[in-house]
């Protein structure tokens, strides 16, 4: 019954209880990442340390409740808290395509980082920014119909983004700030403009199966004088420099967020997407 793959998690017993608790806490910061094996080992280690003689009786009582209240014919096709279920994994020991891609990507990433001093690049983060676009861009090679604006290709298959771009451009923002890519399936639900004495705010919202993705631009008449405060979760903010612009990535509850200022525009992208997708969205802004 027990997972035999313990060799990768040797040493958990050496960690303090606080350190183990911290691993669990940090796992929530990467909610889209499947760390279930590691988490299971951490929970097992903690359970051994906090063994309670009443645990067996408590489990038996819970099992009785489960059988009489939850595991009944009435609930056969129902869920109390519907969610996406984990996909079936491959056989133990097999290496999936995704794992091979990630391994190759990790090696190449390391080579690039080590090569920075040799090729005289000014910033490692600039390379990472470009690398993110290259790594996550999958193409079958066939040319797509596109509209090229300021060096950025907006596919005519996604007119929603082009509409956002045109709306933003209509307010005389000359800086590249609108992404040319968003994850497949998101469709525009709302695009609105709000005029205030200090700025014009353009808000667009995309929806996919109940998930949201929002693009917000505040275009100031003069240099940005922002008084916005963004709520965030406890995790640190990650700063990524792309095309010479510092982008701030953080989380707020289950939403990934990115904020930055370019020219006279304060930009925010937030959504129910993975951090990797958000990086790709931001990266697609730049040529």
């Amino acid at each position: 019954m027990h997972n035999k793959k313990t060799q990768h998690f040797d040493g958990l017993e050496q960690l303090s209880t606080q350190e183990l608790e911290e691993i669990l806490h940090n796992d929530w910061a990467q909610s889209e990442t499947d760390n279930s094996e590691m988490i299971y080992r951490v929970l097992s280690t903690l359970e051994q340390r906090t063994f309670d003689t009443k645990q067996g009786a408590n489990t038996s009582a819970a099992w009785q409740v489960f059988q009489t209240q939850y595991n009944t014919p009435e609930g056969q096709d129902l869920s109390l808290y519907p969610c996406e279920l984990p996909a079936q994994k491959g056989k133990p020991g097999s290496t999936g395509m995704l794992r091979r891609i990630c391994t190759v990507a990790a090696v190449l990433c390391l080579v690039v980082i080590l090569a920075v001093p040799v090729f005289g690049s000014q910033s490692v983060f600039q390379i990472i920014g470009r690398w993110t676009q290259e790594l996550f861009y999958f193409s079958d090679g066939s040319p797509e119909p596109t509209v090229t604006v300021a060096g950025v290709n907006y596919s005519t298959d996604n007119p929603d983004l082009l509409e956002v771009f045109n709306t933003v451009s209509g307010r005389n923002s000359s800086s590249p700030i609108v992404p040319s890519w968003i994850p497949e399936g998101f469709e525009k639900d709302e695009l609105s403009e709000t005029q205030t004495p200090r700025y014009v705010r353009i808000t667009s919202r995309f929806l996919k199966d109940g998930k949201e993705l929002g693009l917000t631009y505040c275009i100031y008449a003069s240099p940005v004088d922002s008084d916005f405060v963004y709520e965030k979760s406890a995790e640190d903010v990650q700063i990524v420099e792309i095309a010479g612009v510092q982008h701030y990535f953080f989380r707020n509850m289950g939403m990934q967020m990115c904020c930055w200022i370019t020219g006279n525009v304060e930009c925010t992208i937030s959504g129910d997407v993975s951090r990797d997708d958000l990086l790709r969205i931001v990266g697609s802004i730049y040529p």
Partner: protein, 179 residues
């Protein structure tokens, strides 16, 4: 049946681990127990696949994580729009269709339905506790909440608009406090 024995064995070995995980995240024992029980209910529903799964423990952990995230998102979605009692008083002044929405809520939902929605979706109470109090089964309670959500979706088809959702939640609070 071997899958049934498998599920029971899995339950007895893993229940406390999963409960510990949920409690650390939610700091709510009652809700944590409800979620963990629902995870094992999913396990029963998919027992044939789980029996052949190379890592059933990992499946349980990931399913629990997904359920917690899904539950948190829904409550955070409504909690963000929660208004203080001072803000609710401002709704006393008729404006832009809010009274019409209020009347619609009153027609669509009974007092009991309003209370049930509040307790389960916003209050963080477990289906088990609420159903025991009401003298109904857990699944009867779940079906009631589903019907309430459906009623609101049908009554307010534009509810996906953030502005209208905000107004609706304000009105739900208003209706709950000034019933």
């Amino acid at each position: 049946m071997k899958e049934d024995s498998f599920i029971e064995e899995l339950y007895r070995l893993e229940y406390n681990k999963l409960l510990g995980y949920a409690e650390r995240r939610l700091n709510n024992l009652e809700l944590s127990q409800d979620l963990v029980q629902d995870v094992f209910h999913e396990a029963v529903r998919h027992k044939e696949k789980l029996f052949l799964h190379p890592n059933p423990q990992g499946w349980l952990v990931q399913t629990l994580k997904n359920k917690i995230l899904s539950n948190e998102r829904e409550r955070a979605h409504y909690a963000k729009l929660f208004v203080s009692s001072e803000d609710v008083k401002e709704l006393a002044a008729p404006s832009d269709g809010t009274w019409e929405m209020m009347e619609t809520i009153r027609k669509v939902l009974t007092e009991e339905e309003l209370s049930l929605l509040w307790r389960i979706v916003l209050g963080g109470e477990s289906y088990l506790a609420v159903s025991c109090e009401l003298g109904i089964t857990v699944w009867a309670c779940q079906k009631r909440v589903s019907r309430i959500r459906q009623k609101l979706r049908e009554a307010f088809p534009d509810i996906k608009s953030r502005k209208n959702l905000k107004i609706l939640c304000q009105l739900l609070v208003f209706a709950a406090i000034y019933k």
